[in-house]
């Protein structure tokens, strides 16, 4: 089994741990927290793409998590930490609605259904006023303290978010190398072949969905406490919490371990900058750019940045070792761009029959 490359894990983690000590500016800390939240959601989303399943419904799980913790805290006085636990459970349950009737749908159809699910939940959140407070939303009280996950400075938020994100990454790595991971990766290549080997593919996909949804719910819950407010249009925003993670994942490299992290770290500050630059009269231009970027990236670099780096590293490695295969240390997968296109071609023709 491929060894995990320790330097690539320890060094970034160490950097991340000490970073806040060098950051006085609360705004930079804020961006860092945002990066961590998005990294977490993207990593969670990416677990489904281990299995080749593209979900655009993660905003649903994010929103369920956010609302669960807020409702429990504000309306029922439940401690936010317990609320986060509940958020995970409710988000996973929320994914069952999608899973059971819809996982049988193939590729694009499942994806569209997930997108519809987000919209449906958004409408329900607006409508179910007694539970969700409708369009007004829910504001969590600013009572301070670790018990309430509420602080004046951004630093504690950063460390909590970091904890969550590292946990998410660890879970993601663990799954990838586990039986579930093997089966997911096989399903991603050829579901029929995997079934003929005795694997119950629907259970495998369901497993990845439940875990992915639960993890996303945790981040949604944390974000709700960080932002102090939840409301339907923000929490159940497909653009922010469904498409954005997918965009991050695609840019970094879908289905790989490092891809979502790389993608989120790059795209989150970029997105923030775009949003701030194009506010007011140019409202909408920032997301226009997202759309254009998505089209261009998919066209030019379907493997994402991680693939790109690996290709470069390989070429460098071949020069140094005279023909042997050199891998970028952070890569935990094989799979070279030319061949993935080959397999993708085969996929395309199979679908095209």
């Amino acid at each position: 089994m491929k060894k995990l490359s320790l330097p690539w894990i320890i060094i970034p983690t160490a950097v991340a741990l000490v970073l806040p000590l060098f950051m006085r500016d609360q705004y930079f800390l804020h961006i860092s927290v945002l990066i961590l939240i998005y990294t977490g959601v993207t990593v969670a989303w990416n677990i489904m793409s281990f299995g080749g399943v593209l979900s655009l419904g993660h905003a649903a799980f994010f929103g369920i998590g956010a609302y669960t913790v807020s409702i429990l805290y504000v309306d029922y006085g439940v401690n936010p930490w317990l609320g986060i636990l509940a958020a995970i459970i409710f988000a996973a349950i929320g994914s069952l609605v999608l899973a059971i009737p819809l996982l049988r749908l193939r590729g694009p159809f499942f994806t569209l259904a997930t997108l519809a699910y987000v919209e449906v939940l958004r409408l329900l959140a607006i409508w179910a006023v007694p539970v969700t407070h409708g369009s007004v939303g829910i504001t969590t009280p600013p009572t301070q303290g670790l018990a309430y996950i509420s602080f004046e400075s951004r630093q504690p938020y950063y460390y909590i978010a970091l904890g969550f994100t590292l946990a998410a990454i660890a879970i993601s790595i663990w799954i990838y190398r586990s039986k579930l991971g093997f089966h997911l990766r096989a399903v991603a290549t050829d579901e029929d072949a995997v079934r003929a080997l005795g694997v119950r593919t629907s259970r495998v996909k369901l497993g990845s969905l439940l875990i992915s949804a639960g993890m996303t719910g945790a981040f949604g819950a944390f974000a709700a406490l960080y932002f102090f407010v939840v409301e339907p249009d923000t929490q159940f925003s497909a653009t922010l919490y469904s498409i954005q993670p997918a965009l991050n994942g695609i840019i970094g490299g879908m289905g790989t371990l490092a891809g979502p992290i790389v993608g989120a770290i790059i795209m989150t500050p970029l997105g923030e900058w775009l949003r701030v630059t194009f506010s007011g009269a140019s409202q909408g231009v920032n997301f226009m750019i997202y759309g254009a970027v998505l089209i261009v990236i998919v066209r030019l670099m379907p493997g994402g940045l991680v693939e790109g780096f690996r290709a470069i590293a390989r070429r460098v490695g071949r020069g140094a070792h005279g023909g042997s295969r050199a891998k970028r240390p952070a890569s935990r997968t094989h799979g070279e761009p030319e061949d993935s296109t080959q397999a993708e071609n085969a996929d395309a023709t199979k679908e095209g029959k």
Partner: protein, 242 residues
């Protein structure tokens, strides 16, 4: 008279306006190899799909190891001992050969390290352990075919459905892969193989079945079957293209 391992009773399958399989019956015993040949479009792969569970027959029965599996889903059939390879070999992306073989092994046992060991053992028995660490993208076609068979074997099947395992191989490669088939049989597995290369199939089959237009044209001893005038006519009268 021993009960057959596989008993197919008059299965039919229609797709839209086409009767792909129009009433095929067959019986397969233990450690028997039956070769299935027939011109293109004869319904061979559709027949296999009925046996492996990808399609459910419109009528007829499939009885395996004493149990009626006519309506059973593919994964369950695989667990019961019906293994299958595909015409278009698709090794799992991003995995090396050993990991490919681990996928079916992990079905019954969650331990990744144990599965790895078992995979290496199996590859060793089949004489391809040197390929264990090779990424599947780097394999030649002949090697991929053997990995495909190895993978199917990892499910410990009693019956193996080989769908054109020799397709795309040149005659030298085919000579390499064919002994694989008998090795598999010697391990106690019955085999149904679809093939276009009639000579190869004749060499290893105990019996042969000829399909044409979804029906059985002839069945029995390979030497006798190929001399059957109906069979010759079916082949001569059809296109030979893949």
């Amino acid at each position: 008279m021993e009960t057959p391992l596989l008993s197919v009773d008059n299965v039919t399958k229609r797709f839209g306006g086409i009767q792909a399989v129009g009433g095929v019956s067959l019986e397969l015993g233990h450690q028997e190899i039956i070769g299935i040949i027939g011109p293109n479009g004869a319904g061979k792969t559709s027949f296999f799909n009925l046996l492996s569970g990808m399609f459910i027959p419109d009528s007829g029965k499939v009885i395996f190891d004493g149990k009626d599996i006519t309506g059973t889903d593919p994964a369950s059939r695989a667990r019961m001992g019906v293994g299958r390879t595909f015409q278009i070999v698709r090794p799992f992306k991003g995995m090396n050969v050993a990991e490919n073989v681990m996928v079916p092994l992990l079905v019954n046992d969650s331990s990744v390290s144990k599965a790895h060991r078992k995979a290496l053992d199996l590859l060793g028995e089949l004489g391809i352990s040197h390929l264990a660490e090779t990424p599947t993208e780097a394999l030649t076609l002949a090697q991929r075919k053997r990995v495909e068979v190895a993978r199917a074997l990892a499910t410990e099947p009693k019956l193996l459905l080989l769908d054109e395992v020799l397709a795309g191989l040149n005659s030298r490669e085919a000579v390499d892969v064919l002994p694989f088939v008998t090795t598999v049989r010697d391990r106690g597995v019955s085999i149904l193989m679809i093939e276009h290369i009639v000579s190869a199939v004749m060499e290893v089959s105990d019996r042969m079945l000829v399909l044409d237009h979804g029906k059985v044209l002839a069945e029995g001893d390979p030497q006798i079957v190929i001399k059957d005038p109906k069979v010759i006519e079916a082949y001569l009268g059809s296109d030979e293209e893949e």
